[in-house]
Symmetry: C2
Subunit: 414 residues, 2 copies
């Protein structure tokens, strides 16, 4: 039987790879690997060790994206790219990103051992800062030429801390902007990821074939009042910024649930200044994001939230400033890639469906410069960005096998 019909990953090696890549930054049940943290850089070093041990070329670009490459004989051949990310949100789960890297790496190793002689370069890429500790999808947006100087001048952390973190990884903002690979030829980009929701498990399905990703818009919302002594100033006279922030935080959830059930929103942080027991809050800064599949709806929601912020400020005599930070545009996955994933799943007798992704992924950056595909495996309970995140190992194997079959299919077609 030729390899392409019977292709299966090596279970033990896949497991060992996954364990090796989830060692650094391990927490009880999860991972704590914010981008460019010590634990994140250690995980990348583990990735390089695995790649060298597997006999692959190791390459690091100006954005810090790490690659393990299996080169074909033809120098100017196009590249079939498989990827995901090794960074995590603070106190995140083990599977988000790392499963995709492990599955891609196992696919590379399985191809190496097969009787196939690819006529394209095969590359596994670990993108920098998918989770946006500093800049959302930074590595993949850099690789696809979608990052601007403004994006890098306004990281979520303070700029000085960002530059310091870059320096520890021998990176610079100039280097990141120079990392675009838009002049290269890519066959396709493929990624395996956990669903981070319960649609697959609710429907009893094995594989989700992602049709496209929601867009995300992010803001800093700052309510400003006046600092006062919390004992001597009367309750009536206060301009308490925390009151406006609290009212707005409740209004965000209410607005989405009542008027925008097709969208989602989150207030993920509130920073109170000066922040002492005995001082009436002078200002509160909120981290706000919302997501929609449809950009028109996203802009309507933004309008509604701006109006809620003004109402909350007015109610407590405050001012409010809404700073739009960044946008991740909705993106479509490639239909022919989707069909290749579906036929691969069929050949493995895995049940699948198409579905949109409610989270952002590096595949949506890559979709701007080549055909891209993303496949989901089920998340138990739908928990995500949490140590409760979990995927059955059998489902991880299904995802890796489907990826391998899809790669074999694409290689046969080139």
């Amino acid at each position: 039987m030729p390899f392409d019909a019977a292709a299966r990953i090596n279970h033990d090696r896949f497991r060992a790879t996954f364990e090796a890549l989830t060692k650094s930054g391990a927490t009880p049940g999860g991972l704590n690997r914010p981008c460019l943290s010590k634990a994140h850089l250690e995980a990348r070093s583990d990735f390089c060790d695995l790649a060298r041990h597997g006999g692959f070329d190791v390459s690091v670009d100006g954005a810090g994206n790490h690659s393990a490459i299996l080169r074909c004989a033809r120098d100017n051949a196009p590249t079939l790219l498989l990827g995901s990310h090794l960074d995590s949100v603070p106190n995140g789960g083990r599977y988000d990103g790392t499963l995709g890297i492990a599955a891609a790496f196992e696919t590379l190793q399985s191809i190496t051992e097969s009787d196939l002689t690819p006529d394209v370069h095969l590359e596994v890429i670990d993108f920098t800062d998918e989770e946006g500790t500093w800049v959302s999808l930074m590595g993949s947006r850099a690789a696809t030429g979608q990052l601007t100087k403004r994006d890098l001048d306004n990281p979520r952390g303070h700029l000085a801390e960002f530059d310091e973190a870059l320096a520890t990884a021998n990176l610079t903002r100039e280097g990141i902007l120079g990392a675009a690979r838009t002049d290269e030829d890519f066959v396709a980009y493929l990624e395996v990821h956990i669903e981070q929701g319960t649609r697959l498990s609710d429907a009893g399905l094995d594989i989700g074939v992602v049709s496209g990703m929601v867009g995300i818009r992010m803001y800093l919302v700052t309510f400003r009042g006046r600092a006062d002594h919390a004992g001597t100033s009367s309750m009536d006279d206060r301009l308490d910024a925390a009151q406006g922030a609290a009212a707005f935080c409740l209004a965000v959830r209410r607005t989405v649930m009542e008027r925008f059930p097709d969208c989602r929103a989150n207030v993920g942080r509130m920073t109170v200044t000066p922040g002492a027991f005995n001082i009436v809050p002078e200002s509160v800064m909120l981290y706000l994001e919302h997501r929609s599949e449809n950009r028109t709806r996203a802009l309507k929601l933004e309008e509604a939230l701006r109006s809620e912020a003004l109402n909350a400020a007015d109610a407590f005599g405050l001012s409010v400033e809404i700073e739009f930070l960044e946008e991740v545009h909705p993106a479509q996955m490639d239909d022919s890639i989707c069909r290749a994933v579906e036929s691969s799943a069929d050949s493995l007798s895995l049940a699948h469906c198409r579905l949109p992704s409610l989270a952002g992924h590096d595949a949506q950056s890559m979709a701007q410069i080549c055909p891209a595909g993303l496949l989901f495996v089920p998340s138990v309970g739908g928990f995500s960005h949490s140590s409760r995140e979990f995927t059955e190992w059998s489902d991880c194997i299904n995802g890796a096998n489907t990826l391998l079959r899809t790669v074999v299919t694409l290689l046969s077609a080139t």
Copy 2:
């Protein structure tokens, strides 16, 4: 004319002292001198320089309280203590605490230059951490033997940071607990402070003679839900800790205004964990304090706020934990000292009234071991714990002159 009838401070020297003591940690219009910060330690060093230059003994006790002492001939004579504090809240004002030290120091200098030969020791004391960066009224509670090991084991900052800060000032927790001066004999404790409210200016008065201080109770209130991905988890399914925290924050203000108009409360900080745009908040910790002149009312308000916290948690499927941190008991000032302040103000043709203090002060610690008196000067606009804090210099002079007269009166009586 004998000194006691004409006693007046030296305006130029008083101003120079005030300027010298507000140099370190200066911000536009205010001071940033959290206890044991570099700026705070520098201010204390400036205080020592002034004291040595004035020819006074300098002494630092185990709690870091700094004193300038004018000793009388009699070794075992009692001490007449004048004091306040040089620390500030983050980004606080110039007058809170520092005015009291400057007025006390000027009083000491004026006495030195007079024809009086006090038969008691005169001591100006700068208490550590009046503002409670670590532990409320730490220095004065230590000096009066009211501090427990538990208080020091639970500072508001993390214990490790507290120990580190103490080390930079050559202090230890053991040393603080050993700083009690309960075996000493004190004639009285006197303090000048800004009102931090508008009662004096509203009534057109020059001096407030404080009858007593409100009690303060402080808590950490933690709402706990579940961290989830802010895109993939549905709005319905979330256990968003920020929603409970926001609802509670609004309820605190409403409860006090509607049902406890004689009390005051503040939510001064909200810390969201993990604190990222794309993670539904797992937990939010709030800093809560409330103040009442009457302890029974304080306990009734606590009961009402506990019930509001449970309601807020229930409404969003969260749990809530309320940790009682510390209490500052209400305290009475000494009536004979109040009368001495009033006659001093009368002799200077200053209009005065008695009034309770809505803020805590070191005088309330001192009231536990000796007759204590506190006098207020007007605050323009009532702003406090803010760089907007301001007191007319003529009112500062009135406060210092009233303090000097009161000291002279007490010295004549001993």
